[in-house]
């Protein structure tokens, strides 16, 4: 027996084909445990985390997009509502304005026609007055002229006061003829 064999090292011994070695089992457990811990820490842990993180990110992006879409939809419907309100309002305003304008127009027209009527009346009055005045003037002049002529014809003074009635008759007859 050599020195190597004496320390426990052997070079030509084989185990049986089917058999259980206690120490190999222990080493198998130890290695399985080491490998399990190492894989959990270095392989499955980080990679699973990465996959989950990415999945979460994708989910977040999708849910964000969904939220954005929802808020956009909400805003859009709000706008549409507002716009339809605005149209109604503007129609209302327009209608009111038109009505007011019509009222105003009627008022103005009425006033104008009243004024015109008033003016016309006044003008007619004036015309009548002036006509009367003119007639009086003419009457006076004609009577003076008639007196003159009559004086000349009868060669004597015709007193205006005395023959007032006569003259007036005369003039009236002239106007009628």
């Amino acid at each position: 027996m050599g020195l190597l064999e004496a320390t426990g090292f052997v070079l030509d011994k084989f185990e049986s084909f089917v058999g259980v070695n206690f120490w190999t089992m222990i080493f198998a457990w130890v290695n399985l445990l080491i490998l399990y811990l190492a894989f959990k820490k270095f392989l499955f842990g980080p990679i699973k985390k990465m996959i989950d993180d990415r999945q979460k990110e994708v989910d977040d992006i999708y849910s964000d997009a969904e939220q954005a879409r929802e808020s956009a939809d909400r805003l859009k419907s709000e706008y549409e509502e507002k716009i339809s309100h605005a149209t109604e309002e503007s129609e209302e305003i327009l209608k009111k304005a038109v009505r007011r304008a019509q009222l105003k127009e009627e008022e103005i027209l009425k006033e104008a026609s009243e004024q015109a009527a008033r003016t016309l009346e006044r003008a007619e009055e004036q015309i009548a007055l002036e006509k009367k005045q003119a007639i009086n003037d003419v009457k006076n002049q004609v009577s003076a002229m008639a007196i003159g002529i009559a004086s000349a014809v009868i060669e004597r003074d015709v007193s205006e006061d005395e023959h007032r009635e006569l003259i007036d008759d005369f003039i009236s007859n002239i106007g009628n003829e």
């Binding site: 426990g8 090292f9 052997v10 011994k13 084989f14 185990e15 049986s16 084909f17 089917v18 058999g19 259980v20 070695n21 206690f22 120490w23 190999t24 089992m25 222990i26 080493f27 198998a28 457990w29 290695n31 399985l32 080491i34 490998l35 399990y36 190492a38 894989f39 959990k40 270095f42 392989l43 499955f44 842990g45 980080p46 990679i47 699973k48 990465m50 996959i51 993180d53 990415r54 990110e57």
Partner: protein
Amino acid sequence: MDLQVSGPKVFFVLPWDLPDTTIFTMKNLITQTTITLFVTTIILIILAVTLTRKITKRPGKVQVLLEKVVGMLYNLVESTMGKHNIRFAPYIGTLFVSSIFGSVIGMTQLFRSSTADLSVTMAWALVTTGMVWYNNIKNFGLKAWLKGFTEPIFVMTPMNIVSEIASPLSLAFRHFGNVAGGSVLTALIYGALSLLTSALLGWLPGILGEIPFFQAGIPAVLSIYFDLFSGFVQALVFSLLTMVYVSGACPPPEELPEDRRAILEKREAKKAKKANN
């Protein structure tokens, strides 16, 4: 021709007086399998660390592949064990990778497949059994679990006990047998091809007559089946069965009896409280 079918080579024997029989030994401290186990562990840790050192939100090619594989693992665990058992995924993944790598490393001829040693597959199968028992007791209570052995009728008790013992044994032997049997078959084929070569081409002069020409090519094709395919299938079977057994002990919380659920929830709450402090 001399063909030996043996277990792993022993490198270090303990000098003390320990049990040492053909089927169970405590004397052989370090064997080929021990070396393989540590080598695979170191290689796999190095791989894991280097591959995940630079993972980013925007993945490169390697990261896409890794994520695909990890995602597949989590999906498999979720579909087999349920969403509430997703915490077992890292263990199942570790088991699967250890198994497939332990089988395939034998192809290098530098190391003996670790799964071609019954000790290793037995150790893994006992972990599965341990998980099943632990979760059964945790979820259903010791009394209910023990009572489960007498169901459906009391006479069935021995059968139930046998089946409880048989499941890790069958798990261990299935995996071991497939991988070890594959290596034995490969060795047999190598031997047969060597014989065939010497029978057919032995007349060639000099050294030419001693070269086993037929050993080139044919074993490679068989190796694809016995080492790669079988290694993959056995790793998958072992992981799947582990998942099935463990998920049997971990039903969804809503399927547990009312009183057990209350106890478990109380325990969870206490744990959460402790974690917060």
